[in-house]
Symmetry: C2
Subunit: 142 residues, 2 copies
């Protein structure tokens, strides 16, 4: 299996998902046949813990973040911590945890904001963090 063919699998899978999304009422998913792509709307949240050295608090936060996969409009989820890359000046590696959610459209993200699973996560975990920064991104056509 070459790197190229492995990448093509991701392209094909993503195109399949985008094609299915296009059968819905909102056919907004941009597609590409030449590179891997993902559901178009990204909601990326960074958390800074009140106790950044507490492994227990981090574990609680990560456990809470995992529950967000249960929201029906969430098409994909990536939960992580700072990667061990070179800390150049432009790299912000000061956060404690990262949550990336993918949606088919902005309506899906809006529905997520008021979903009971999201509200429960906030209620149970918000005492853990001191700061949150959110970036919402919509894909441009390839």
């Amino acid at each position: 299996m070459t790197d190229h063919s492995r990448r093509n699998i991701l392209v094909a899978a993503s195109a399949l998902a985008a094609g299915m999304a296009a059968t819905g009422a909102r056919a907004a998913a941009p597609m590409s046949t030449s590179k891997a792509s993902f559901p178009p709307v990204v909601h990326h949240v960074f958390f800074w813990l009140k106790n950044p050295d507490s492994k227990e608090d981090l574990a609680k936060l990560l456990a809470g973040l995992r529950t967000l996969a249960g929201v029906d409009t969430v098409r994909g989820i990536h939960i992580g911590v700072p990667a061990d890359t070179e800390q150049r000046g432009v790299v912000d590696g000061s956060y404690s945890a990262s949550e990336i959610l993918f949606f088919d459209d902005v309506a899906g993200q809006n529905a997520y904001q008021v979903h009971p699973i999201h509200k429960q996560f906030v209620a149970e975990c918000e005492h853990l963090w001191q700061r949150v920064v959110v970036y919402d991104v919509k894909a441009v056509a390839p």
Copy 2:
């Protein structure tokens, strides 16, 4: 096609890709059978243009970002602009463009940094932006 089954396609595709990655020397891709997941290492870059109202400069930057899909260690790419979500206090929608790259591991991200395609992008586009912020994330096991 229900929302649930549509999500399962993404899970299956991702698990397939992760499984193939695991046949390589570095079997690092975390997997989950219960929710969608993606290649583990995320490199998310936000750009603020010198001329944020210039559609021409934005188009040049986006065109440059699209070339990054040609780097062999890039497993997935998402290029976008601020989504039209509610601008709550925690949401930073001030950036001009967003680039998310997915890698199998930190080594793949390191190789990308010195790849000729990436260097060419920086050389041709860096005059367009006034500020860049980078977040590198590594997925935690589900």
